[in-house]
Symmetry: C2
Subunit: 490 residues, 2 copies
C-alpha cells in the first residue's frame, strides 16, 4: 500500500526581497513621515491616499524613469477581466487620480502622498521590492514659482528632520537648457539625442573624461568590457561637456556659462531664465545658494523630466563598509513633467513635484546619530503569585495612569528567571517584584535594570535583593519612586 | 492600405472595489491610527510592520474566518518560483513572523500592527477590497489575564477616541463554554458540531426562534427559500438556546446560568472560570460591567477562536438610509486562538488579540459628529502681478513662519475670478490680495472668505473691495491681522 504523503509544513519566511520592520524602526519611520507630511500640509498641500492597486492599463507597464528601464510591476489578472498591479511609485497614481477627478479637484491640484510602493526587480543587498515614498506635487501650474516652492519646502523639511544647513544642498538643473545645448549642436536625430541623454546620465559614475569618451568613440569600463560611444567628434562633444561643467563660483557666473552653452536656442534661453527665477525667488525668501543652488552637473532624471530638475544631497561624510570616507548623496529628487496626464486625457497638464526616499534618509540620519537613541521598553511588573494577578494589574494600571508605559508579565510565571530575561529582552528600564512577604508587609521591590544591567540575568531572587540597584518601598509610594528613577535617565 | 490603428487612451479609473481617499479622510484616519497605536504602545506592545506581500504557502490559501469561507487573496506567481499574495489580514503575517523570528523575539511577544489588507472578493456597496486593520496581539501567553488586558485596552482606546462610557460595550464570550455545552449534549459527530456552530453564527440575523428552527427542521428565509435544519430534536436544541440566552441581570447570574448550561463538562467549567477571571480582573481595575461584560449572545468568530472571544459594540442609535433608528454595532473583535503558529512549527503557541475596524469606527464617529468638523484649507495669497512673485512668496513665508498654513496661487493668474474660485474650492478661510496700487501704498487687502462666503465668487475686484468682509491694512501688519481673523473662528 502506498504511504500517505504528509503535507509538509509551510516555511515561515519573508518573501525574497521583502522585509519586516520591528519596534523603533517602525516608529522612527512613522515620525519621519509625520514630520514631512506636516510640512507638506503647512505649505498648502492636501493628503491623498490612492489605492495601492491600479489597473495595468492606467499604470502603464513600465517605469518612466530612464534609470531603470527594465523594472517591472507585480501584476495579476482579474477573472476574465482587467490586469491589476501594485503601484511602483506615487506619481503614476497621481496622474490617474487627477485625470479621473479633474472636474471636481481644484486647479492647481496640490497633493501629498506617502506609502509603500512595490517594484518587481531582482532583489539585491539593501535593495528591496517594497519601500516607502513620500511625495508632494503641484498639478496644473506652469509657473516656475511652483518649482521654486518645492525646493524651499524640501530645504525646510531637511532642517526640520535635524539636518544642519551646511549638511545638505538642493541642486537645480533644467532639461530645457540641455535641449538648448543639443539644438545648438545641431543634433536633431532622435536616436542620437537619446544616446547623448543616456550618456549624460552616467556622468555621476564615469566623470567628465568618461562622458567625453562615451560621446566619442567609447571606452573600457571597470570590468574591462568595451562600451561603444555615440560617435560624436571631439568638437561636437564640447558643448555637452561645457554644459555639465558650467557651474561657476556664483549663481550669476553659472547662469552666464549656461547662457553661453545654449547659444541662440530659444528653448535653452527659456531654461536659463527659469533657473534664474528659481534662484532669485529662493534667495529673496532667505535660502542661500548653499541651500538651493543652480548646478548643471545634476543629471539624474534629466531624461525623464521636461523642465527644472532638482535633487537634495546630504553633503556630510560617512564611512562606507570598507571604512573609506564618502558622501551620502541623494535623498530626494524631483522636477517638472508636463506630459504626465496627457496619456489619459490627451491634454498636456503642467506639473512639478518631489519624491523623498524615506528609507534612505532614515539610514542617513541613523548613521549620523541624528535619531534619538533607541526607545526603552515598558516597565515590567513581574508575577510572583498567579493568584494575585489583580494586584499586579493594579500596579500596571496606576503606572499607565501616570503616563508611564508598563505591562504585567503574561507568560508562564513559574520560572522567575524567565521573567527577568523577558524584561532584559524588552529593554525594560525597571522591573517590579512583589512576593508574598512583600505583599503582607504592604511593600514592593523596584529593580533598576539600567543600573543593574551588569548583573547576570540568571541571578537568584536573593541576589537581586542584595543588589543596590534594587529598593524596597511602600506599595503606596510605587509610582513616585518609579518616576524618580525614570527622571534620572531622561 | 489598412488604416493604422490608434492605441486607445487608458481609462483613468480606480480598479473596481478599490477607493481613493482625499484630504480630511486621510488625516482623520491617520489621527485615529496614531491614537490607537499610542495606547497599544503605552500598554507595552511593540510596533511591527511586516511586508504587505507574503508567500501563498505562508499565508494559507483561505481565510480562517468562518464568516467568509470563499474569500480569496490577490496572488501571482514569481517567475518559475513561489506564488506570492497580498496579506488578507494582520494575523496570518504575525504567525509567520513569530515562527520565523521566535528565537530572537521575547516571549510573550506583544506586537501591534496597522495597515491596509486586501481581499479578493466581489466588491459591493460599502465593501472594499482594500481596507485598514489595526491589531494588537500577545503571542505566547496562556494566562487569561492577557485576554482581560486586551478588553481593558480596547475600552481605553474607545474612550480616547471620544466615545462616551455609556456609548460602547465590550462583550466577552468563550468558545470553551460552547464546547462544554456541545459535550453535555453528547454531540460528538464533527460534521454535526460544525453545523451547530454555523447555525449559532446566524444568531445575530435570525434571533432565538430562527436558531431554534435551524437547529431543528429548518426554516423559510427572508427570500422565501427553505433552509434545511441540522435535524436536532427540540430537547437536543434546548442547551444551545439556553447558552445563547444565558445573560442574566448581573455577571454572577450570567456565570451561574453558564455553569448550569455546561453541566459536568470539564472544558465548559474551565471556560466559565476564564470568563469569571476576566470579569473579576476588569471589575477590580475599575471597568464596570457596563464597559466589559460577559455576554454569551456574542457569537461572531466563535467558530474560529479557541477560548475567550470579545467584541466591541457601539450602543448609540444612528439612523439608517431609510431614517430608521438602528444600533451601529461591532467596531472591533478578537479572541484567543491557540493554534495559529502550529502550522509552521508543529508546536501550539497560545495567543490572543484584537483587531479594530478603523474604517467602520471612523464612519461611526463621523455619523455621531465626534470628529472635529472638516479642516480648513490654507490661506491663499492671490497673484495680481506675475512679475512680483517674490512679494507674494514673502507673504506666504511670513505666514508659514507664524505657524499659519498658507500658499501662493500658482495657476495661471490671468483670470482673477479663477483665483477666488480656487480659494473657495480649497475652503480657504482667507485670501490676500495686493495689486499695483496697494503695493505702491505699502498696503494689502485681506478678504475674510468665511464671512464673505455669501457673496458670489464671480464678483469683480471692485465689488470685493466694497464688501465689509474685506479690510485693507499695512503690509507690515499682515500677519497680526490674519491671526486676529483666524482667532474669531477657533
Amino acid at each position: 500500500m502506498a504511504k500517505v504523503k504528509k503535507t509538509p509544513r509551510p516555511k515561515a519566511q519573508t518573501p525574497k526581497g521583502f522585509r519586516d520592520y520591528f519596534g523603533a524602526d517602525v516608529s522612527e519611520r512613522n515620525n519621519m513621515l509625520e514630520t514631512i507630511g506636516s510640512v507638506y500640509h503647512h505649505y498648502g498641500f492636501e493628503a491623498l491616499e490612492s489605492s495601492a492597486v491600479e489597473t495595468v492599463e492606467a499604470l502603464g507597464k513600465f517605469l518612466p524613469d530612464v534609470d531603470r528601464p527594465n523594472e517591472g510591476v507585480f501584476a495579476w489578472q482579474e477573472e476574465d477581466s482587467d490586469w491589476l498591479a501594485l503601484r511602483y511609485d506615487l506619481t503614476a497614481p497621481l496622474a490617474r487620480v487627477y485625470a479621473q477627478y479633474r472636474n471636481e479637484l481644484p486647479t492647481p491640484y496640490r497633493r501629498y502622498a506617502m506609502g509603500p510602493v512595490w517594484r518587481n526587480e531582482k532583489p539585491g543587498p539593501g535593495r528591496y521590492r517594497q519601500f516607502y515614498q513620500c511625495d508632494a506635487d503641484t498639478v496644473g501650474a506652469a509657473n516656475v514659482a511652483a518649482d521654486a516652492e518645492i525646493c524651499m519646502m524640501l530645504a525646510d523639511i531637511l532642517e526640520r528632520l535635524g539636518i544642519a544647513p551646511g549638511d545638505f544642498a538642493i541642486k537645480v538643473n533644467n532639461r530645457k537648457v540641455l535641449n538648448g545645448v543639443l539644438e545648438t549642436m545641431g543634433l536633431t536625430d532622435v536616436a542620437q539625442r537619446d544616446a547623448v541623454l543616456r550618456t549624460i546620465d552616467k556622468f555621476d559614475k564615469v566623470g567628465v573624461e568618461g562622458v567625453r569618451d562615451l560621446l566619442g568613440k567609447g571606452r573600457l569600463d571597470a570590468s574591462g568590457a568595451y562600451i561603444d560611444g555615440v560617435g560624436l567628434s571631439a568638437a561636437q562633444a564640447d558643448p555637452v561637456i561645457a554644459f555639465l561643467t558650467s557651474k561657476g563660483k556664483s549663481t550669476a557666473e553659472t547662469l552666464a556659462n549656461l547662457a553661453q552653452a545654449v547659444g541662440s536656442s530659444p528653448t535653452g534661453a527659456a531654461g536659463v531664465r527659469e533657473l534664474e527665477t528659481i534662484a532669485t525667488l529662493a534667495a529673496q525668501a532667505g535660502y542661500s545658494s548653499a541651500k538651493i543652488d543652480v548646478d548643471p552637473s545634476v543629471v539624474r532624471g534629466l531624461g525623464y523630466y521636461t523642465g527644472p530638475v532638482f535633487e537634495a544631497e546630504l553633503t556630510f561624510d560617512i564611512l562606507d563598509e570598507k571604512g573609506r570616507k564618502r558622501q551620502f548623496g541623494s535623498v530626494a529628487g524631483g522636477g517638472r513633467y508636463d506630459d504626465l496626464v496627457k496619456r489619459f486625457t490627451g491634454q498636456e497638464v503642467p506639473a512639478t513635484g518631489v519624491s523623498i526616499g524615506v528609507d534612505r534618509l532614515l539610514a542617513a540620519l541613523r548613521e549620523k546619530g541624528r535619531i534619538a537613541s533607541q526607545e526603552r521598553g515598558p516597565i515590567i511588573v513581574t508575577v510572583m503569585d498567579k493568584d494575585h494577578m489583580s494586584d499586579y494589574f493594579d500596579m500596571v494600571t496606576e503606572l499607565r495612569g501616570a503616563g508611564i508605559r508598563a505591562e504585567c508579565y503574561l507568560g508562564n510565571p513559574k520560572n522567575f528567571g524567565n521573567q527577568l530575561k523577558y524584561a532584559d529582552k524588552r529593554e525594560a528600564p525597571i522591573a517590579i517584584i512583589q512576593g508574598e512577604s512583600e505583599r503582607n508587609a504592604g511593600r514592593v521591590l523596584i529593580k533598576d535594570l539600567i543600573l543593574g544591567s551588569k548583573l547576570a540575568v540568571q541571578a537568584t531572587l536573593e541576589e537581586w535583593k542584595e543588589n543596590p540597584a534594587q529598593i524596597e518601598v511602600d506599595r503606596s509610594d510605587l509610582v513616585q519612586n518609579i518616576q524618580a528613577i525614570l527622571k534620572k535617565y531622561t
